[in-house]
Amino acid sequence: MVVKVQSAPFDPGAELTAFSKTGDNIGAVVSFTGLVRDVADGLQEMTIEHYPAMTERAIAEIVDEARTRWSLADALVIHRFGTLHAGDTIMMVATSSRHRADAFAAADFLMDYLKSRAPFWKKEVTSKGDGWVESKAEDEDALCRWDR
């Protein structure tokens, strides 16, 4: 498992290529890439704040939970912080497994948990001012899918 929390840009394609070589006899690799979207008022920039002492451990715990639930060969999480612009890559997740169902479910689970349980906060600066992105009820609801 690799967890990277960084301000530097990264290339999800190059990461996917490297990641696909790490698993032993894998049949399925799923990746998710999150990008900065423009917003109605015109996004000038997005600033992502995080809690450095907690972030990597919180992500590692979420990945560990995924590994107890599904049979994974490997998992990768990269999440940026700092100042980004529309179209920039914010983060990526990748999972590999012998079978596609495990790789898909684990990547979906990781995204739902990273969204609401990893200590990142996004602020948008638009032509009309700036504001913190609010968490959505649907993101919290999404976690219920994984109750057991």
Binding site: G34, E49, H50, Y51, A53, M54, R57, A58, H79, I90, M91, M111, L114, K115, S116, R117, A118, P119, F120, W121, K122, K123, W132, V133, E134, S135, E140
Partner: protein, 82 residues
């Protein structure tokens, strides 16, 4: 003595990212009450704790969690990663 950390709009409303707090609070909620009583900016930041989350020693916790020997308490809005 605990390190109290603030993130996102909690940091902005209180006006600083962290501070050392002398407290005998038994629980997180007791600490919140002490902070609220300090100054208006704290009272505003902590006015609705349903809009806040807390981590004790870098682990997510509930507001009724005991502080015990914890060294670091962080307050922040719901996370918006991903």
């Amino acid at each position: 003595m605990v390190d109290v950390l603030y993130f996102a709009w909690v940091r902005e409303r209180i006006g600083l990212p962290n501070e050392q707090v002398e407290t005998k609070a038994a629980t997180v909620m007791d600490l919140v009450e002490e902070l609220r009583a300090r100054e208006e900016r704290y009272a505003v930041a902590f006015s609705d704790i349903s809009a806040l989350r807390v981590a004790v020693d870098q682990e997510l916790a509930e507001f009724d969690a005991p502080i015990g020997t914890a060294r670091e308490i962080a307050f922040f809005p719901p996370m918006t990663g991903g």
